[in-house]
């Protein structure tokens, strides 16, 4: 059984949740785009459901809440170290099915791939996920192809239609407030996308041999190594460590981890000045094969969830879907023929 709520009723429910949770959702940050008088849609705290953006994909993903862009791990002075504080409240995160599948990737990276990451786990344990019903793909989305179009492991799911919110809420903690404020009850099944705008087919014969193909070369000139694709990606998790010293004697400061990108120049920089992947094509190869080949070998499922953000944000119009559909088959053909 689900609940039917008006904007005001859901806002009241948010208020009830707010003792324990901050609500995060894709929302408009007006005027903060790359270009003047353009907006960015990204995750921020919301108190009014009307501020949640339903009709467009967010430029950046929810991962900024679970893996903060800049996260202080601890503060140090001489012989003492103090752990940084976590937010007091937990988080209720509104996200679409592709992104909820991305949570599975983050969980794998931080909780199952070796020892648990304490910082991730501490935040993760206090998060509730609200699935945003998604009834049509945005340009360049391909969740159906990646098998991420349906989610059932949510704490709540919402369809938003004609100004009314229809909520299914298996989570008892969140349900209490919804029940209090609901204006009606009804059966709710979260909407999901059934057909991609562009179907994406990862070649079945794809192997790491493709690394040697020439398909990557064109990206040497096209890609500007800005890293937007990975910063916007909900499944990219790489970070750099930064030790910041507050004083020149080096005795007080903080250690923080900051998101980074395999597209950045210092990503494969090693002591002595060596840089393993200098060319943009090499970095593109590394990223693409991680998303649709290497990760799966380890985890058993593909890393890419088909959210389409990397395509949408690339200033040079480099498309991952184009790479997968057109370039990868070409590259495999090339390396297989060369092998004969």
């Amino acid at each position: 059984m689900g609940y039917q709520l008006s904007r005001q009723a859901l806002a009241d429910a948010f208020k009830s949740w707010s003792g324990k949770y901050d609500v995060y959702a894709p929302t408009v940050f007006a005027g903060t785009g790359r270009f003047s008088e353009t907006d960015v849609i990204r995750y921020g705290k919301v108190t009014d459901p009307a501020d949640i953006v339903w009709d467009a994909r967010s430029d950046y993903s929810f991962k900024e809440i679970l893996t903060p862009i800049c996260q202080v791990l601890f503060y140090f002075t001489e012989h003492s170290v103090r752990e940084s504080e976590f937010p007091e409240k937990g988080a209720v995160i509104f996200l679409r099915s592709c992104d909820l599948h991305a949570v599975k990737r983050l969980d794998y990276m931080f909780l199952q791939n070796g020892p648990e990451d304490y910082y991730y786990k501490t935040l993760r344990d206090k998060v509730k996920f609200v699935l945003m019903g998604c009834d049509h793909p945005f340009e360049g989305c391909f969740c159906v192809s990646m098998g991420t179009n349906v989610s059932t492991n949510y704490d709540a799911a919402v369809n938003f239609k004609d100004g009314t919110y229809y909520v299914d809420c298996p989570d008892a903690d969140l349900a209490a407030a919804l029940k209090d404020h609901a204006e009606g009850t009804c059966d709710v099944t979260a909407d999901h996308v059934e057909k991609d705008a562009v179907e994406v087919h990862i070649p079945e014969n794809l192997t790491s041999a493709i690394a040697k193909s020439s398909i990557w070369d064109e990206y040497d000139k096209r890609c500007i190594k800005c890293g937007r694709c990975t910063l916007a990606c909900p499944t990219c998790t790489c970070w750099s460590m930064q030790d910041l010293f507050y004083t020149e004697d080096g005795k007080a400061g903080e250690r923080r981890r900051v998101q980074t990108s395999c597209m950045f120049d210092d990503y494969t920089l090693v002591a002595g000045g060596g840089c393993f992947r200098q060319k943009a094509g090499e970095r593109m190869r590394f990223k693409v094969l991680h998303k649709v080949l290497d990760f799966k070998k380890r985890a058993g499922f593909q890393m890419c969830v088909g959210c389409g953000r990397c395509d949408a944000i690339c200033p040079e119009y480099i498309s991952l879907t184009h790479c997968i559909n057109e370039k990868l088959p070409q590259g495999m053909k090339e390396v297989l023929e060369n092998g004969k």
């Binding site: 790359r34 003047s36 008088e37 950046y60 862009i69 910063l231 990108s261």
Partner: protein
Amino acid sequence: MDMNCGKLKKYAFRVTKHRNVASARVRVPGGSLNAKVLGQVQYIAETYGNGEVHLTIRQGFEIMGIPFDKVEEVKKALQPIIDELDINQSERGAGFEASGTRNVMACVGNRVCPFGNYDTTALAKRIEKAIFPNDLHVKVALTGCPNDCDKVRMHDFGVMGMTEPQFDATRCVSCGMCVRKCKQLSVEALQMKNFRPVRNVEKCIGCGVCAWACPNRAWTRSKEQYFRITLLGRTGKKNPRMGIDFIKWADADSVVKIVSNVYAFAKKYIDPTAPGGKEHIGYMVDRTGPEEFIKFILQDVNLPKKAEIYRPLNWSGIRYVGLKSEPFYVGKDVNPADLAVFQKPLPLK
């Protein structure tokens, strides 16, 4: 043929080198128009003119080959264009009044340009509304960013879009793209310190390249749009020169007010013998000195707190005639013996 040439020119017609033939000039404030204007320009050119149209330097059309006896009909045919472009006019059907103050020019601005810091055409139209029609010779040009594609420093008033970069350290990933791009494309106002870019406020010209370059929205533009105003650039035969900086971090209201204020100054100080009642503002300022000029143009202007006014104002440029000495000729004006001192070789150290 009897033709009142002054009246003809007042309505933006050119008296051409061809006897009894004019050309009709159409100004497009801010340089952007609905394509249907082009249809009417074509109609006029083919119906009344010789079919040729020149794209003018100041973003207008010069419809060529209009016989004098068709001028009145052309004025009527221009009305749909005037309506479409929403141009100030004192009498409907009388054509463009545009004899002194010139079309307010604009680069394409942020309607399409990734670097444009504001809607240049919209501000150009706002200025047009404030100053047209006017017989005094004033040139205003707008450009979206300090790259100055519109060459606004060649005008009496140049307006360059600026933004005050806003930095959100929590979104910075230390990639260094802003520092690199500021160095490559702008003035090297950013430096990396403790994993973060630090902005040299003095050096920064507000171009917005950092906000354009930042991949993660750590750098964004200020809500407020700012402007650099440059003064009294000019072409011309006497002393062509670039406009110089007047105000950094002005706002749009101040821009409109400052430009509007120039007319009171010009009315008072124009050379009464100037041909056709037209004189570059700059020559008036050459006579009055800049302080008197500034007193007029800053009348009732409320600049934002951030605004910086440049002082003193000194122009240079190429001077073919004017305040400095005339070219002199050896033998006629100067005794050759006096020049000997310049011809001695320098002593070797």
